[in-house]
């Protein structure tokens, strides 16, 4: 399951990443393996999305979210 496939309100725990370069940026922003994520909402036009991770809100494009694999 990828993060981009979740609906608003659903949550998951990060397992791994598919893109090394993206993973470095995501980890800097607190998206670490083992961290839980809640999908808050999608932008009015369906992309990007807003998630809550390690206590704050982060927005990222679906394409970027699809590099996050959930447990």
């Amino acid at each position: 399951m990828r993060l981009s496939q979740l609906e608003p309100g659903q949550s998951g725990v990060i397992k791994e990443f598919t893109d090394l370069e993206m993973s470095v940026k995501l980890m800097e922003m607190g998206c670490l393996p083992g961290e839980s994520i809640v999908v808050e909402r999608f932008a009015p036009l369906g992309d990007p999305m807003a998630i809550t991770v390690s206590g704050y809100q982060l927005s990222l494009r679906k394409l970027e979210a699809s590099t996050i694999i959930l447990q």
């Binding site: 940026k25 909402r41 932008a43 036009l45 992309d47 990007p48 704050y56």
Partner: protein
Amino acid sequence: MNSDLKVALVGNPNSGKSTLFNVLTGLNQKIGNFPGVTVDKKTGFSKLSDSTIAQIIDLPGTYSIYPKSHDERIVLNTLADKNNSGYPDLIVFVADATNLKRNLLLYTQVADLKIPIIIALNMMDMAKRAGIEISVDKLAEKLGVQVVPISARKLEGIDQLKQAITFAGKIPLQADAIEIESIAPGLVEKIGSEMQLDNAYMALQFAHHHEHFHFITEHHSDRIEEIEQEFSFHSQKAQATETIARYNFINEVLSDSVKVKIDGKQETISNRIDKVLTHKVFGFLIFFAILFLIFQSIFAWSQYPQSLIEELFIWVAKLGHLYLPTGVLTDLLIDGVLAGLSGVLIFIPQIAILFAFISILEDTGYMSRVTFMMDKIMSKVGLSGKSVIPMIGGFACAVPSIMSARTIESWKDRIITIMVTPLIACSARLPVYALLISLVVPDKRVLGVLNLQGLTLMALYVLSIVSAIIVAWVMKKIIRSRERGYFIMELPVYRMPRWNNVGLTMFQKVKAFVFEAGKVIIAVSVVLWVLASYGPPQKFREIDQKFTYNANKQYSHAQVDRLKASAKLENSFAGILGKSIEPAIKPLGFDWKIGIALITSFAAREVFVGTMATIYSVDSDDTNLGSVRDKMQSARNPKTGLPVFTTAAAFSLMIFYAFAMQCMSTLAVVYRETQHWKWPAIQFVYMTALAYFASLLVYQLLK
């Protein structure tokens, strides 16, 4: 001011770093540019005690020492080079207490550079409210540094922080976060010893960033490359390993010092606000309402102060002509320099108003939501969600709008926004459009309600948006960038704007414009004034004679003056230029008189109307457009006897004004914002070419 201590503020974006900077320095600050890049370099002085003054440097906010943008690169470049002017004696790390885990990542990176450091733990009040309990002593003990709890917005803990800065030791005492050698075994030691670095993390940074370190020689850079090959160093893999190791350390630190009492399920106020402000329908409605408000204010609210500034300058000019001795110097001072100065100051109201809004939108956190909502549309044409604000502002004036593009992080998005914003129909085009439309478009209604003149004007506005989008899309394909387009962005919690910050931003932006772009504008306007008021001396003497002779008895004094001004303009250098470009602009349907107006319009587009008035020797004090219009309507081509302003020519001219770069203030501000003459040059060439060919097409089709 002499300071004993240089202090750098480092921290994440939205950590309250700038608020703290303002609190520490007050109005005692100055904004410059970091060399070679357009990133605000804020420095200021803070009186720590009766005997100590510290110089404070506000470094750009970043999430990590590994930069993603030009702004972020500055942090590392400043801290890595001991010989640069910004290298601090002490780092004050500003950490957001509500989000300590992510904030500490950057802290551990910076701390490992082994510059003395203390932590200002900001937003303690908000952390408390969110149920986060932080044991400051435990945290300090684990990290080996001083931790000062503060609330920069509420001015709490500032004295304690100042004290801590004053008495901070000169020796770095922070605990090691990770074992750096293990990230790249062998490589770190080798670079360290060959480059004579006493710090292992610095050696690792040399491996990652040597290409961007201007302070190391090419020879050293090549040598580092060799060492990297020898140890098969992979920058991203090393960075990933390092990040995970750092978070392990941080988790261990936080497990002892931070307790979260409330479960995360409780909905925050911010979340509830977001449900409305980023709602599918209301989100856009509210956004457009805000845009409309901004647009209206720049247009309407600035009109009164602008006319005050204008009147003031007219008054000063009158006095000057009255009391100063007549002569070239007085003319230069009043009609050249003073007019140029007025052309600079006239922008102040618009800049102040736009930046008041932008600073409120940024401060409250709404700007990130704008980006969030608009990203999908804007990213398709190579723009950022944040480009919407500069482009809407462009309807009023490109000058403040281009300055506001600084809020766009991605260099490429920012450049494209700057390049296309002047295509948006700004308010200076309005008088030109109004004059030309009234000249050739009949004041008739179509379909019962729609006014044909109004429709034409609207079409010109729509055209400006469409052309900006198309050009942006083309530029997206052309401009290469090494930055990969990310959209990983924090959505900060909503907050009340800090009004003194709003005021400070307005003041600083106005100051930056007046002192930096102002120089260019005054210089160019003096040149334009010389071109339009001087010509070959022989010819000018003849004109003077012709109009002083009483051969013109049938005319009044004022009429003689107008005819003289008209004759002088025709024979001035600008007139000669206008005539010499006539062959080039003839296919567009323009004669040399329009040619002159195109040249003088470079001062500002609305000058077109005034120039037309002078050329057709209409009383320029006459405020209604009617008399200029009548003259233009009856203007005939002396060779063919046909009207000059045919429908085809007028439309061609409107299209020319829609696309052409005829605004020196915009070019000056683009230069200031890009720190390079390349960009205003490209902009001038592409817009002029676009204007030429579009007008050519329009004229040849309508003729």
